[in-house]
């Protein structure tokens, strides 16, 4: 059931699937209303009118966007435009920042995640996160992956746990590399392996959505390519929201792309369309390298 506010919001004409007239009419850079395909048919997550403040400073203004099942949504934009901030709203990681305040509504399969009745722990188990810098726990590879299932009680016994660990590592494409060193510390792996370990750790709790904040920015091109392949495979089972600095990466891995600018969500659309035919002047400027 939608509450009143959301109902009104959804009726607002400009933000629906209206196909705007294609080029050459560009929307001017003073206009910060989101253009493009904000909603999807069957969203797993919906966000409406999200504002984020750090103390009095507003970092995100009035962002509304849906996330579909089994899609990779990439978020691009110049640094400091609020991509990470928005991403961290989706699993309430912003709760850990004392000054951060979030308003608006964010729903996961129809449940408001900021509702008092939502347990943030359950939420984060369903909306996992992979960070910019690989951050494996200073424990063994096995313990890293087993940690989530342990705290969430996903395994009835040791053999089930072993199975989860193995499947997760396989899905993350890491099994063959680490199957003989499960007891060695996860911090001893290479950077790319560490990041895949973090992904394995994340999928071990079988989330619905995986958030990735520039997961490849600390990696070399070969490791990056492996992660990109992995993201594509993971789409079979999960919805993925990825923040990236690299437009090529966004183009390679994502189905939809959202462009942020100074706290505003400027444009959303199918990746191929955004990259070939952006509607908004700001998007075009960014894509053509005029700033960023």
């Amino acid at each position: 059931m939608l509450n009143q506010k959301q109902a009104v919001l959804l009726e607002r004409p400009a933000k629906t699937n209206d196909v705007l007239p294609s080029a050459p009419v560009k929307i001017q850079d003073t206009d910060t209303k989101t253009v493009g395909q904000v909603t999807v048919d069957k969203p797993i997550m919906t966000t409406r009118n999200v504002d984020v403040y750090y103390d009095d400073k507003q970092a995100i203004r009035n962002v509304s966007i849906d996330i579909a099942y089994n899609e990779v949504l990439s978020m691009i934009g110049p640094s400091g435009c609020g991509k990470s901030t928005f991403l961290r709203c989706l699993n309430r990681m912003n709760d850990t920042i004392e000054s951060a305040r979030v308003t608006g509504s964010i729903e996961l399969e129809g449940h408001d995640i900021y509702d008092k009745k939502t347990d943030v722990v359950t939420l984060r188990a369903r909306v996992g996160m992979v960070f910019q810098k690989p951050n494996p726990f200073p424990k063994s590879v096995y313990e890293n992956v087993a940690y989530g299932p342990r705290i969430h009680g996903l395994a009835r016994n040791q053999s089930e746990l072993d199975e989860i660990v193995e499947t997760s590592l396989r899905r993350a494409g890491l099994w063959d590399e680490v199957k003989d060193r499960l007891r060695e510390p996860g911090t001893g792996l290479s950077g790319g392996q560490q990041q895949r370990l973090c992904i394995a750790r994340c999928i071990a709790v079988n989330p619905d959505v995986i958030l990735m904040d520039e997961p490849c920015s600390a990696l070399d091109p070969i490791a990056t390519a492996r992660i990109e392949e992995l993201i594509d495979e993971l789409r079979q089972n999960y919805s993925i929201v990825i923040v990236t600095h690299s437009m090529q990466q966004a183009a390679r891995v994502s189905q939809r792309t959202a462009y942020f600018h100074l706290g505003d969500l400027i444009e959303v659309g199918e990746t191929s369309i955004i990259f070939t035919n952006p509607q908004h002047k700001l998007t075009e400027d960014y894509l053509t390298g005029r700033f960023g």
């Binding site: 347990d119 722990v121 359950t122 705290i151 969430h152 009680g153 996903l154 009835r156």
Partner: protein
């Protein structure tokens, strides 16, 4: 049952409660255990906490008030003749009763009334013990039962447990505040009693200190002299000597070690100097009395000076040695906080190393150094063992470092070691001195910590 036994039983109960809670959770979840909100062990912990915590709180409260209440009851039941006795006399009687009860030596023969009272006391104690055991265990079972009934798949056990743990953490963190309050109240309370007997003005500005006469009642009209000025003067004199040693030595050695010395020399000398900070003050006191004081006296005799064997100089020197590492480590921190850019700027103008330090680094670091020195002074004023062992008891009002002086801390120790009579100004005076000591060091600390913090923030 004795208290340790009760606690042991409670621990067993809590362990059982944990298991019951866990089983219950698995049972209500049915075959599909993932419908549980939290892991089964959190349901167990929740039950165990509810079993143990209320019972422990009850136990603490009971033990805290049991004795007071029983005493009141016993006194109320004494024959009327005793009721009119003064409080100290009653206390003596109660003490005798207690001693008799626990089989200790009693200061007087007990008459019949008293023997009855002892019996009464004993039976009250026994009743209290039995009642405690019953109530304690009932509370534990009750808590466990209540928690057990709450267990359901959508019961957020983990959040509850974590909330309880958080409350415990909060209580631990507020202990510092309670300690401060405890200090203030305990010295303030007795000080007020002291100031009822001795006017504040006489205490703060009186020039004569001889508390020992206060208990000699045959000296008519002599209620002892509680003028604390000689103590303040003695404390300041010794602290001054200590700072005259520690401030220059500590500061210059910090500068030398951080700016000049060979890294290998520093690696050896710095930890060695820090050893000085780890030596207990009683060792310094012994060192002062055994070695330094005779050295100074002999040296003085060679120069034809009459040096007291408990001279302020000996105590001050040794205290200064003790404070050297304190000053030098604070100076080291403070000097290192001065940004490299300032040094580079000065050196680039062609100043020598020492010019750079004196003209740029030290002025920039001055607030921090001053803060550190204030902390060091606060230490010197509050230092006890060195002065107790090396300075005297004679309350001389002098600035001659070769004479014996006494300090606030020495007097507190002297007044409180041995017999304490909490109704005589002699004992209470120690608390008044303690109050002064606390207030002065508090002021110094607060100012110093503020100055140092501001200084640090400036360069952060």
């Amino acid at each position: 049952m004795s208290t340790p036994l009760l606690i042991a039983v409670l621990l067993l109960l809590a362990a059982a409660a944990f298991e019951f809670g866990r089983r219950r959770a698995l049972q209500v979840a049915g075959p599909e255990f993932r419908t549980l909100h939290s892991l089964p062990r959190y349901y167990g912990s929740y039950t165990a906490l509810w079993c143990a915590l209320p019972a422990l709180i009850l136990l603490g409260a009971w033990l805290a008030f049991e004795d007071k209440i029983i005493t009141i009851l016993v006194i109320a039941d004494l024959p009327a003749a005793y009721q009119s006795l003064s409080e100290p006399e009653l206390n003596l009687i109660v003490n005798d009763l207690r001693n008799q009860l626990s089989g200790n030596v009693v200061s007087r023969e007990l008459n019949l009334d008293m023997q009855a009272a002892v019996k009464h006391y004993g039976s009250l104690r026994a009743t209290s013990k039995a009642a405690l055991a019953v109530i304690f265990l009932s509370v534990a079972m009750l808590g466990m039962g209540l928690a057990w009934r709450k267990i359901a798949p959508d019961f957020w056990a983990r959040n509850r447990v974590e909330a309880i743990v958080k409350v415990l953490l909060i209580i631990c963190s507020t202990l510092a505040i309670f300690t401060t309050i405890g200090i203030v109240l305990s010295v303030l309370f007795e000080s007020i009693r002291f100031f009822r007997a001795v006017p504040v003005f006489d205490f703060l500005f009186g020039l004569e200190w001889s508390p020992q006469t206060a208990i000699r009642e045959d000296q008519v009209g002599s209620s002892g002299a509680f003028g604390a000025v000689p103590l303040f003067a003695g404390t300041l004199l010794i602290s001054l000597i200590a700072m005259l040693v520690a401030a220059p030595v500590g500061l210059t050695s910090a500068i030398y070690l951080s700016e000049y010395s060979h890294p290998r020399f520093r690696a050896a000398a710095k930890p060695l100097l820090e050893i000085l900070a780890g030596i207990p003050t009683v060792v310094y006191g012994f060192f002062a009395a055994l070695t330094v004081a005779p050295l100074i006296r002999d040296a003085g005799t060679n120069f034809g000076l009459d040096v007291s064997s408990e001279s302020a100089l000996a105590a001050g020197l040794v205290m200064g040695i003790m404070i050297i590492p304190f000053v030098s480590s604070i100076s080291d921190d403070v000097i290192n906080a001065v940004p490299q850019s300032l040094r580079d700027g000065s050196l680039a103008l062609g100043s020598t190393q020492s010019e750079m330090i004196r003209k740029v680094v030290l002025p920039a670091a001055l607030p921090g150094i001053v803060g550190g020195l204030l902390l060091a002074i606060s230490r010197a004023i509050g230092e006890t063992m060195i002065v107790v062992m090396a300075a005297g008891l004679a309350a001389n009002l002098t600035v001659n470092p070769l004479e014996a002086v006494t300090t606030v801390t020495v007097q507190i120790v002297t007044l409180l070691v041995g017999d304490q009579e909490f109704d005589s100004p002699k004992t209470l005076a120690a608390f008044a001195l303690g109050l002064m000591l606390f207030l002065v060091t508090l002021a110094l600390n607060v100012i110093a910590l503020y100055v140092v913090r501001k200084y640090r923030e400036q360069y952060e």
